[in-house]
């Protein structure tokens, strides 16, 4: 997994690519929680190049979301490939997360 933080129209976007498994999750968690602790909001997560996610990846986003909600911040998941989206639906987390079809939709929402 690789992580790149970019800015578009003044909004911070975390671009992820590759596989988010138990090996990658601790790295992602550190990055994500640093941004959450800094109060960066909204934070958009770009899933476009994520090919795989397991429950440790999902748990990391749940943690990020809880951190955001603690101060009224917003975590927006965008451009999820169907296989990744399916795991969120299966775990009933698509009801809890703000999920957008594209980065632009997430930014303009």
């Amino acid at each position: 997994m690789t992580i790149i933080l970019i800015e578009k129209y003044g909004k911070k976007i975390l671009e992820l690519s590759g596989e988010i498994d138990m090996n990658a999750s601790p790295v992602l968690r550190k990055e994500l929680m640093t941004l959450v602790k800094k109060g960066v909001t909204p934070l958009v997560i770009d899933f476009n190049n994520v090919s795989y996610i397991d429950s440790s990846g999902i748990a990391t986003f749940v943690e990020g979301l809880k951190g955001m909600m603690a101060f009224g911040g917003k975590l927006k998941l965008a451009a999820l490939p169907s296989a990744v989206k399916e795991i969120f639906s299966f775990s009933k987390l698509d009801r809890v997360f703000e999920i957008y079809g594209s980065i632009d939709d997430a930014i303009n929402s």
Binding site: E19, D21, M22, N23, V62
Partner: protein, 151 residues
């Protein structure tokens, strides 16, 4: 040995990518649909992540042995470790309506496999046997759940 492959990996999460690659190829050899391959790959990853976390408590220098068997009407995965014995009655996923990190792995394993049993005969460590029926069933989660409830 025919239609069976065994892989032994260290209990370090970086080897999960190796495990997923083998799992996916074995699933393809068994003739599963693409969706089924994805489900099984994720389930085997989750089961071995659990061994790393729970049986080995994060010790990354231990061994996990995973055997794959393609049999006429099922796909079987046997996962062995030498770690702390699991208490099967205490292995339970969280209520999915409750939002918190964790507790999802077991659900993902049971979605892909019809049988999830620890072999009681194993003295030290654990031997988890996962069986997915492949004949006469649809590759469909709903069907699988209904069937489980019926039986």
């Amino acid at each position: 040995m025919k239609n069976s492959a065994v892989i032994t990996i260290p209990s370090h999460p970086q080897y999960l990518s190796v495990l997923r690659a083998v799992t996916a190829q074995m699933c393809m050899l068994s003739g599963m649909s693409e969706r089924a391959v994805d489900e099984v790959k994720l389930a085997v990853d989750e089961a071995c992540s659990n061994v790393m976390k729970h049986a080995y408590r994060g010790d990354t220098g231990r061994k996990i042995m995973i055997q794959f068997r393609i049999v006429p009407d099922s796909f079987e995965v046997i996962i062995e470790d030498n770690g702390i014995k699991a208490r099967p009655e205490r292995i339970e996923g969280r209520d999915l309506d409750q939002v918190r990190p964790g507790g999802l792995g077991v659900h993902l394993i049971k979605r892909a496999f019809d049988t999830f049993t620890f072999d009681k005969r194993k003295k030290k460590g654990n031997r988890l046997k996962l069986i997915r029926h492949t004949k006469g069933y649809h590759d469909n989660y709903t069907d699988r759940k209904i069937r489980q409830k019926d039986s």
